[in-house]
Symmetry: C2
Subunit: 268 residues, 2 copies
């Protein structure tokens, strides 16, 4: 049972405070973000100290009682809200009635344990793509995902949703410039590969040469224009996914999936 | 130069006729669909007899003169429209000022030339996912893509856009029931693999066993619930992409990319 009365006004200071977290500037000031829906909230609950507040409609309270009970047992305030307030808070067209306010979960690159496979997002601008790459990195067994300063904010609502919980599964590093990331990962013994359609070697070449058996950091670039020359120059090798048919290119998330799974297989 | 006056009324019979093609029922009656933006229109032009009519704003006419000239040289009527009419016709928030009416390009499965790699979409409902799988199939060198009767319409505007031109690149088959498709492809000597998270063999197992060196048809299922039991039973083998980390699953398009590229590599 949720304690207290239902919040019905979209103007209540509490609701307005949570709603602000849809904006990056407010997220960064509060170091908090919104996790929407039962999956994300359930995953946030698995990381102690992450979920700080939960909003639920009466309907969600009935349907998602396991999540709400777990939150209450953890001493997390649960606020009952009207459907109208949930619509105001949620960023999806069909909110599922459950929305959590979470503390940032990112870590410093130096805190990431020894790694064999790392994803680095450089210049990825679409939050849906970034979230899908995060999910795929998790599935492929990556040890960490780095969002460089030129990439989208992983706490963007679309990115959180597209990650399907993976934001809470593996170390995520946010905001460092690419140069320092490459230097640090190379210092740790990782081979740095840039995935770019202009690469001289194909992924098949890299597999044939045994390149992918080494611990690897993959750098993925912008959806439309790939990676800038300066980033390509930082890499040990520039690798392209071969295009066997007549497509001009792959989309970012599918190219990343092919590269990361090629590495995962080579490591096993 | 576009002949004739500019269409400025969203009520003109011509504009209303084209606009109707946003609806599946009207597309099927006319066996025509809409291709939006310079990339899709440019690709449509490469398939003789496909583009039947072109709508362009004055701005697009200036920027995309190569496409418009090619259409006019091919005897394709080009209609200048106002920005308002283009907004009415286009299905994107930021229409790029160019929209083509195209004849259906699909072929019968029997017409597809001998094939070594075929994608079969069963129960894929999201047009964006379907279009991305079509694009990925093209990139991976598939010989054909089959949209079964339980899948989304490939002529849906979102699917056409997500395919990034690939709808015009390789044979696409639309509408047959899955049972007949599997029987036909098996009869042609293809091994039929169903991609499903519940598969007993992983993709690594299939690679290790040399399964993927055979000509292969991959069946991909629904975004949320995979493939129904009846379809799994039709397949020679059910294969899952291994999840090495803590993600529950991969999304459909990334899983398809990993499977199709594993086949492409095994075939080379």
């Amino acid at each position: 049972m949720v304690a207290g009365h239902e919040l019905t006004s979209t103007r209540s200071p509490r609701v307005k405070g949570a709603r602000r977290l849809a904006k990056r500037a407010f997220r960064q000031r509060a170091r908090r973000f919104l996790a929407e829906g039962p999956q994300a909230v359930g995953e946030a609950l698995t990381v102690p100290g992450t979920l700080v507040e939960l909003y639920a409609t009466a309907e969600a309270e009935a349907r998602q009682s396991a999540i709400i009970d777990a939150a209450e047992r953890g001493g997390i305030p649960v606020h009952r809200v009207s459907g109208e307030v949930m619509t105001e808070l949620a960023q999806t067209v069909t909110p599922q009635g459950l929305l959590g306010v979470c503390r940032f979960v990112d870590v410093e690159l130096a805190e990431v344990p020894p790694a064999r496979l790392v994803t680095v997002l450089a210049h990825v601008r679409d939050p849906g793509n970034a979230g899908t790459v995060l999910r795929t990195s998790d599935a492929a067994g990556c040890d960490a995902v780095v969002f460089t300063d030129a990439s989208v904010d992983p706490y963007n609502g679309k990115c959180v949703r597209a990650s399907a919980g993976s934001l809470f599964h593996l170390p995520v590093v946010v905001g460092p410039p690419i140069e320092g990331v490459v230097a640090e990962l190379r210092g740790r013994g990782l081979r740095v590969l840039a995935a770019d359609g202009g690469g001289t070697a194909t992924l098949d070449d890299a597999l044939d040469a045994g390149t992918l058996t080494a611990p690897t950091a993959w750098i993925f670039g912008n959806e439309a224009w790939g990676l800038p020359e300066a980033v390509l120059e930082l890499a040990d090798e520039v690798v392209r996914v071969p295009i066997h048919g007549r497509a001009e290119s792959l989309n970012l998330a599918t190219a990343a999936a092919v590269c990361l799974y090629a590495s995962a297989r080579s490591h096993r």
